[in-house]
């Protein structure tokens, strides 16, 4: 039996593509190697009664246009905004973030009266960059070397957008795209801890330090989302990040699509230069009119497609596509809420992101460790306790804590990670938290530690890179994943890409999956209603 579309990998992008294609009338099958679905947007019960968002852990970038098109709220998706955030400082003080504008200003003023009044202009400037970039998320990038009318008109669209900007804004924008977040923040702020808080978004998931050129853009990538129009805000998916993929699954099944979980794709079957199906690791063959890979571009083409079917130049570029992993993850079941000594009773900040790195310099030192092939002993952690807001994930009074950790290299001094390395890495992170919340260690009921090794083995992310390829400017827009193949097509006919390796990149956004579906449907001359990108403010 031949289906119209076979999608490799039931991550959020694969499922988004599947949903759109099924709604357009295609017969769709999704093949998933794990027994569960979700890829990096997953909820798992790793300790009885506790739901873990054990990979991605917060939601902002997932496009509301997609939620609406695919009726995800009807299938159970609910996004909860979160509150606050805090950086614990070495001197015993802290910097809190508050949703209330005035509370936030006063908190900044505790650290620097000047910075308190600089934050609005900073936010305005970031928003200006968002307004330029965000509409591009939901469009197929043009091929700048093509003379096809579509590419020319898309290039003209980019040109027009750029022409609307003043000279001042164009130079601001070029600087912003290329500079380091540290330099960028120095242009607004003087307080080290304020800069440390704001630099975070620029290094998450990225093999760059806050002083590396190009890191400012990564910050923008994390600011481009919104929670119900509140641009730059982040939230939780109720029930964990798996709620997103579970809603996609239900939406897909309601349109007649099917998911086959439990067996991975061994290879993409190619006949006469055209993909015709896949062979699973149990020997089963699935035939399809087209195959769409949600795996990252390196995994897809270097592991699951015969090299002799591919142009060597393409293979060379895929090999060079940077997927350097930089992060690890601790997922912890807690018997009770941790008590952070610095934070006053009643502070809302625990209902947001918790950090323990109070200067940009310390982050950069942690990156230095990564460069020399070590995980860092003074890690930068982005810690969340979603159960402070989401009542569905643990028994009442108990908590699930997610610790995203930088920096962890894909390999330790060139060799693979060992279990002992992993445990030492986990211990360094726990020790850091325990310093600010004495007794924290005793609250731990269960802990899962994931290094790039585990992320690659289980989720399938090459080198553990959470974005399926770094978000550096050389790997964006029409250069993502490789020049000439930024329109979700591959050198093999009927073999498509829909994962975060493609434009506009990772972060549980769904946009790559949606854009890939748009291209596939255009190619198949099938129409479907898709929402255009909503305006930014």
């Amino acid at each position: 039996m031949t289906c119209d579309a076979l999608i490799i990998g039931a991550g959020h992008n694969g499922l988004v593509t599947a949903c759109y294609l099924a709604r357009a009338g295609m017969k769709v099958t999704v093949a998933e190697k794990n027994d569960w679905i979700g890829g990096a947007a997953v909820s798992r019960e790793l300790y009885p009664g506790f739901t873990y968002s054990n990979c991605s852990y917060v939601c902002s970038l997932f496009r509301p246009e997609i939620m609406r098109d695919l009726e995800l709220p009807r299938y159970g998706l609910q996004i909860l905004p979160y509150e606050g955030g805090v950086v614990f400082m070495e001197n015993g003080d802290y910097l809190g973030m508050f949703r209330d504008h005035d509370a936030n200003r006063r908190e900044f003023a505790r650290h620097s009266p000047r910075d308190a009044e600089a934050y609005d202009r900073y936010s305005r400037d970031i928003m200006r960059h968002c307004r330029f970039i965000r509409p591009l998320l939901m469009r197929t990038p043009p091929d700048p070397s093509s003379f096809k009318p579509r590419d020319l008109s898309e290039l003209a669209y980019l040109g027009r957008k750029a022409m609307e900007l003043s000279e001042v804004q164009i130079s601001d924008m070029i600087r912003f795209w290329t500079m380091s977040i540290s330099d960028f923040l120095d242009g607004y702020f003087e307080s080290p801890v304020i800069k440390a808080y704001l630099a975070v978004s620029a290094i998450i998931g990225t093999a760059l330090g806050p002083m590396s050129p190009g890191s400012a853009y990564v910050l923008l990538h994390h600011y481009m989302g919104d929670v119900d129009g509140n641009v730059g805000a982040w939230g939780f998916a109720r029930g964990g990040m798996g709620a997103i993929t579970q809603a996609l699954k239900a939406s897909l099944e309601a349109s007649g699509g099917t998911i086959k979980a439990g067996h991975g794709v061994e290879k993409v079957l190619v006949r006469n230069g055209r993909a015709v199906g896949v062979e699973l690791d149990n020997g089963e063959t699935l035939h399809a009119t087209r195959v769409i890979s949600n795996m990252d571009v390196r995994r897809t083409f270097l592991k699951h497609v015969a090299a002799d079917e591919l142009p060597s130049d393409f293979v060379r570029q895929v090999k060079r596509f940077k997927t350097r992993g930089s992060s690890g993850k601790l997922n912890i079941a807690l018997d009770a809420a941790p008590k952070f000594t610095a934070l006053p009773e009643g502070a809302p900040n625990l209902r947001g992101d918790l950090h323990f790195t109070d200067t940009v310099e310390r982050m950069e030192r942690a990156y230095d460790d990564w460069k020399s092939g070590h995980f860092t002993r003074d890690p930068f952690q982005d810690v969340m306790i979603p159960t402070m807001i989401d009542p569905t994930m643990t028994p009442p009074g108990k908590h699930f804590m997610s610790c995203f950790v930088q920096y962890a290299p894909p390999r330790i001094e060139g060799r693979d990670w060992t279990d002992a390395d992993r445990d030492a890495f986990g211990q360094a992170c726990v020790n850091q938290i325990n310093r600010f919340a004495p007794g924290f260690k005793d609250l731990i009921l269960h802990m899962e530690v994931r290094t790039p090794r585990e992320l690659e083995a289980e989720v399938g992310l090459t080198e553990g890179n959470i974005f399926q390829g770094e978000l550096t400017f050389d790997q964006l827009l029409f250069n993502r994943p490789v020049p000439g193949y930024a329109q979700y097509r591959s050198p093999i006919k009927a073999l498509w890409m829909c994962g975060s390796s493609t434009h506009p990149g990772g972060g549980v956004m769904g946009a790559p999956g949606r854009n890939a579906a748009a291209e596939i449907l255009r190619d198949a001359r099938m129409g479907i209603d898709m929402s255009d990108a909503y305006a930014v403010l």
Binding site: F98, D102, A103, R106, R128, R131, S166, G346
Partner: protein, 397 residues
């Protein structure tokens, strides 16, 4: 020093809160620069009437205040703002604006000269980075002191009488001048300033003396029906006076997301403030270019609109067809019996082509909006400018 527990209260109470809270019969509060600010005390119409008939009191404490001191204070402020600060003598006040390098307005405000080297800048928005960055090369200190001064605005035709009854003779105090009087063991500053276009004064004192001032004023003012007013009533009066509010009538240049939202002093009708003869000030070169190449895109005008339905937020059309502007503030004016608005009009629709302007109004009639297209004509601001505003000595009522 800000307390760590500040977050338990997002909006601070002003020093007058113990008096204003019990009087606020509907508990109508809004946020103003991080403070609780009364939008009304239960009867906006009577509050407005107090402004135009007797004596009204508005709590000004949340207004952002910067103290600027030092030997170069005059030179610094001359460089910062468009007006000539050297001409502002100690004891004087003037309204002014300041611009970014592109000559776009950052904010407007009032500048009080307390001494040769001592100024207070009062404004709507917060500018500490801009103000401190601009000190480069000047021997001057800038400090945000919003919460260290309690201020009341006493406005209305009987306010000189009220002050006289309170024991302070202000009969010789001219508009935009200040006087200092002893009160409650401290110094009370009285300036003849305000935001209503009427006779009025602003009173400035240390927060510890705020309640004593309030009580004294309300006792003295009782014969004139002195009453507290909220920002809704004040807004009516300020529109009649034709005054602008940053963030409501124009977007401060540092806040504009869209580059076409910023406005130059020419485009806000504030170019009369600019002293072209003084030394360089911020935005000067851009403003000269704008003037010489007639590059201004917009005009800010007063409109007199047919009918009596207030045109808040309305779009303006030329010949009922072409969209040429928008309204930022509007009201049916009780005092002038006119339907007034403050509007931004694309040039040349404010001058050469101003003859055929129409305003699209959505009138709410029993839960249902009805679309009206009514004619409007440009009319000079201030819409209301009574002689009592400037009369010195002021009349008894």
């Amino acid at each position: 020093m800000i307390a760590r527990l500040h977050f338990n209260k997002h909006l601070l109470e002003t020093p007058f809160y113990p008096r204003t809270a019990p009087l606020n019969k509907h508990s109508e509060w809004g946020a103003w620069s991080g403070h609780l600010s009364a939008t009304g005390f239960g009867d906006t119409e009577m509050e407005y009437t107090a402004i135009r008939n007797g004596a009204s009191v508005y709590d000004l404490c949340p207004m952002v205040k910067y103290r600027i001191t030092g030997p170069d204070a005059v030179a610094y402020l001359d460089r910062l703002t468009v007006r000539n600060v050297a001409k502002l003598t100690p004891g004087g006040v003037h309204y002014t604006v300041w611009c970014d390098d592109a000559g776009k307005v950052l904010d407007d405000g009032t500048l009080f000269r307390h001494g040769p080297q001592d100024f207070l800048l009062c404004c709507q928005e917060r500018h500490l980075p801009w103000l401190t960055d601009a000190t480069l090369g000047f021997e001057v200190a800038v400090e945000e002191i919003t919460e260290t001064i309690a201020a009341l605005s006493l406005q209305g035709p009987c306010t000189a009488s009220v002050l006289s009854a309170a024991g302070w003779d202000v009969s010789s105090l001219r508009p935009f001048r200040m006087t200092k009087v002893p009160f409650d063991g401290t110094t009370l500053t009285i300036s003849r300033t305000g935001f209503t276009g009427d006779l009025g004064y602003e009173l400035w004192i240390g927060p510890a003396h705020a309640l004593a001032l309030w009580d004294h004023l309300f006792t003295a003012g009782a014969p004139w029906g002195i009453r507290p007013i909220g920002s809704d009533a004040l807004n009516m009066a300020r529109i009649e006076a034709g005054f602008l509010i940053a963030g409501m009538d124009f977007i401060p240049a540092e806040q504009a997301l869209r580059e076409d939202r910023v406005r130059s002093p020419f485009e806000l009708g504030l170019d009369w403030l600019i002293d072209w003869n003084k030394d360089h000030f911020n935005g000067r070169r851009a403003l000269i270019r704008e003037r010489e190449s007639r590059a201004s895109q917009w005009s800010l005008v007063g409109l007199d609109i047919a009918g009596n339905v207030s045109a808040e937020g309305s779009l303006i059309y030329h010949a009922k067809q072409k969209e040429v502007g928008y309204i930022t503030a509007a009201l049916w004016s009780p005092t002038t019996k006119r339907n007034l608005a403050i509007a931004h009009l694309k040039r040349p629709y404010a001058a050469a082509k101003s003859d055929n302007l129409w305003v699209e109004i959505y009138a709410l009639r029993e839960l249902q909006y009805v679309k009206l297209m009514v004619p409007a004509r440009i009319t000079p601001r201030p819409f209301f400018t009574p002689a009592r505003r400037r009369a010195t000595p002021p009349g008894r009522f």
